[in-house]
Symmetry: none
Subunit: 248 residues, 2 copies
């Protein structure tokens, strides 16, 4: 899907931003960069420097006279813009972009269009777009760097292409098998015994000690290796309590 998406930078005036945009694109798996009427000499060493390992995207970048030429063969054009515009277009959120692309036909050419650093896209350019996308920014400083805007939208496109978001705690690929309930119960018994032997747990006044320790270790979901370490530790503690003195 990402191969059908081109990133169009309109009237860019800082070469570094072109390089930064190329890097952001390649990091997220996009490769087609179009410069529509750039206001800076291109190629440019500053662009190459900022692109780092994405200089190949600069080599294959297409330079056009204007936006109309850049999107002539596209059927879906999405323009980035600040929220307030005299002319309203349908608006999609950055997160909604993925759905928009997923619903596109497999033969559609899609353009994601970014305006000038200082003034964005003109009204005429915006009228060439089918949708607006607005990145929500803080009112205390709403102007995003161009490469940063490219980064955020390409990130959203990449996420939309990847498998559904896994649960926050990705535990399925933990590198050790988790301990069984039975194993953990034996650990609690051992713990209670050892704490009694060193005099920390007083059977006559146990308070909430074991309850609190159970809550702690249950929260962690011990793995098998950790359980072995803890059991080994308890055995050494018992030896210390019984025999006294440090081991060597």
């Amino acid at each position: 899907m990402l191969d059908r998406v081109r990133v169009v930078l309109v009237g860019t005036s800082h070469a570094g931003n072109i390089g930064g945009a190329a890097r952001a694109m390649k990091n997220m798996g996009l490769s087609r960069l179009v410069l529509a009427g750039p206001e800076v000499v291109f190629p440019h060493p500053e662009a190459t420097w900022r692109a780092v390992q994405a200089a190949d995207l600069l080599d294959t970048a297409v330079v056009t006279r204007d936006l109309a030429e850049a999107v002539a063969d596209c059927t879906l054009v999405i323009g980035t813009s600040a929220r307030e515009r005299r002319i309203q277009l349908p608006q999609v959120s950055p997160r909604g972009l993925g759905g928009l692309l997923a619903r596109s036909r497999p033969d559609e050419q899609i353009a994601l269009v970014f305006g000038r650093e200082d003034s964005g896209l003109s009204n005429e350019e915006l009228r060439m777009c089918h949708w607006h996308v607005h990145i929500p920014t803080s009112s205390s400083y709403s102007s995003l760097n161009l490469a940063a805007a490219v980064q955020i939208l390409c990130y959203e496109l990449r996420l939309a292409c990847l498998a559904p978001d896994p649960a926050p705690a990705a535990e399925s690929d933990w590198d050790e098998p988790f301990a069984t309930v039975e194993g953990v119960e034996r650990f609690y018994e051992h713990l209670e015994q050892a704490l009694t032997e060193i005099g920390f747990l007083k059977p006559s006044a146990p308070r909430q000690l074991m309850t609190r320790l159970r809550r702690l270790f249950n929260r962690v979901r011990l793995d098998q290796m950790e359980l072995n370490i803890l059991r080994g530790m308890l055995t050494e503690i018992q030896k210390a309590a019984r025999g006294g003195g440090p081991r060597t």
Copy 2:
């Protein structure tokens, strides 16, 4: 919520990235920048230039010696990392970050930690983190620019604030305040000492013992009361190792 989040840049070596990170933060409504052991002179004109209207974040930025100092008073530390690590930590997706923060207690100090441009965070630094977050990148060019990584995660935090995660609050109503990083670090020192005294940890052959125990306790997010219990336990274990014999 965003006022409780600090962005910590560890060992940054390009001043421009500091400025770019500050701008990314302010665009998304974050304001607290911490530089932990920067590898570049700061303040720096290149940082100021890239920050544009976010230079106020540079003025109020805190410079610390290292990561430990930067997060000493935090109870939730999230480190950014490349996926592959020998010892895994619980992982959260960029999108899952918002849920994690929404479930935090209103008095918690939270750190989002970014590593060096070339080598990221060290294993020791990663062990100070409760969670890893990995930004999914293309295998053809996986290394994100530092300011771009800050931009993506701050964007996710902003979205989470605009549309709070409706997931049930698991931790926000925890009945004890969570332990600070500093308090937990003192516990690890105490633990290492006690384990050495009972002969379980051999300084000449420590293997992965402390690493594994750190991973265990960092996963659980100890609360203050639990920390007190564990410290009390260690003191009794030391008494047993030194004096020998059970208490009564």
